[in-house]
């Protein structure tokens, strides 16, 4: 890709969101942050993002609901990586149903997130 990949980060925690954007930049990507799923949907990023990293628990609709909604939104589906602290097994099933590219549990290893993003960009 000629331009730097744009990774959308949907995370309402004010510490973690900027940190994730910083991590994206250290990888040579561009990062765009959103405090809620609604913010992301309302912004332009929907068409231009190359990958979406989202937390499960958000102020409005959840990250899972967002992922499910994005299923039929574009020609080339936007890979969604879900990050969550919740440990319930049901999340794995729902994640699969929503077509998640990756599901990571917090606390996550940065390397795991990075390899998920790299694979998502290559797909």
């Amino acid at each position: 890709m000629p331009a730097k990949p744009l990774i959308a980060i949907v995370e309402d925690d004010d510490s973690l969101r900027p940190a994730l954007i910083g991590l994206m930049r250290s990888l040579g990507y561009d990062g765009a942050g959103f405090v809620s799923a609604e913010d992301f949907l309302a912004a332009d990023a929907l068409g231009t993002a190359d990958c979406l990293v989202t937390d499960l628990q958000l102020p409005g609709i959840s990250g899972l609901d967002l992922a499910a909604r994005l299923g039929g939104e574009r020609e080339r589906p936007l890979p969604v990586i879900l990050v969550t602290a919740r440990t319930e097994k049901s999340i794995d099933e729902r994640g699969e149903a929503a077509g998640l590219f990756c599901l990571l549990r917090k606390p996550f290893e940065a390397d795991d997130l990075i390899s998920c993003i790299r694979r998502a960009l290559d797909s």
Binding site: S15, L16, A19, G22, L23, S26, Q57, P59, P107
Partner: protein
Amino acid sequence: MAPQTDILDLIHESVVTRDAGGRVLSWNAVSEELYGWPRLDALGRNLHDLLKSRHDAPVEELEARLLAEGRWEGEIVRTTASGQERVLDVRWSAERDVDGALVRIIETARDITRRKAAEDALRISEYRYRNMFQAMAVAFWEVDFTGVGAMLIPLRDQGVTDLGAYLHAHRDFVRATMEQAIVADVNAKALELFGATDAAGMIGQNTARFWPRDSEPAYIDALVATMTREPHLVTETQLLRLDGSPIEVLFTVSLSQENRRRGVLLIGVVDISARKQAEGALQRLQAEFAHAARVSMLGELTASIAHEVNQPLAAITTSGEASLRWLANDEPDLDEVRGLAGRMVADARRAASIIARVRAMAERREPERIALSLNMLVEDVRTFLAHELRAQDVGIELNLQPDLAMVSGDRTQLQQVIVNLAVNAVQAMAEAGVPDRTLRFTTGALPDGRLTLAVEDNGPGLPPEPGRLFDSFFTTKASGMGMGLPICRTIVEAHGGEIAGETIAGGARFVVTLPATS
């Protein structure tokens, strides 16, 4: 004899003359009134028989003394014609002729019945008082106040209108008045309480040694009450025994008219050390209890707390990783690294403050009393519970009245109450599986100036036994100790307020009412 009889009728006392045999020779007008016998009925009658004269000693003995000494005076009890008893102060003189033979006995008498009755009543009352004084289980002192009065009265002439204020400003003067107050009498209980072996050890002493400096305000109240003629004063204070050791007491001053006339104050002292100790122990127990409940409640929130701390920690890790990647580049972007490092420091501080807040809630402290804003307390709690509310999908509404008066209290304790009410509401809504869960906080003021905080939810409402809500160990939750609401009530009531819960249309409402700071 006739002219003399006229004069005798003008005399205001009873004048009766009798012969050596005791028969009435003359009977003046006052005697008629006093004894109820007309002159004609009395003349010639034996006086003592007619009037049934009675004395402690037999009347014959009195007559004998009269003959021997020529006079007698004393009190005699007689019965009038209508049967009433009279007490009389009588004087007898024996009139003799030149040969020394008894001519007649002259008697003057005054009716002292009423005066005697009053004296007797007083004596009985005094007797009863003395008995009670000695027998009471309350320590009693009689304090001679005349010296103190002499010091206080001139103050009025010097223009002092507010005695209390003057005394508070002149403590040396107050001490001097204590030295002028002299112990006149003490009862057995007072000896015991103040550690004296006998009354002589206390009688005659001035009262200064019994009053510690910190108790002077109570003493000043007593002085002011005395001078402003308030009949009774009751106050708690601390006094000193003879050996200087302190005792917590209830101190009462009785300022009856009669005592005031005698210049004497009657002081009652009740030892309340035992009560004070029990109160202290109870308060400590309540604090320990509240602490235990606080820690237990914190246990319920551990997951939320851990999550709150984990967020900044995860951010720090992420920023650290990003920094390492930058530094691994051939040309590291140091501005980026600098930014990341700064963010790591900020996140570390945020984690530390969350931990400090949690520590403060779990710490055992003496409750503080500062001016607090109810609205700010609600905001604090919202921040503290932000994650829990999101996790449980609970919407929050704040109807906080602006410019609300402040409440005086302990920040941590009041936060604890609000947190508890909120957590209860959240759990109730979660267990009932309510969709669209909403928690509403409303603050306001009542017409009487008290402040209110209402916590409402749209859960299932109160359980069927609302009267037991605030009882210890009563809970309808599967887990939980049922200590939250009783502790809330203890805290709220310790702040001078009330707490109540009710079911409302579509949920439950708890209202905390607190006095505003003056």
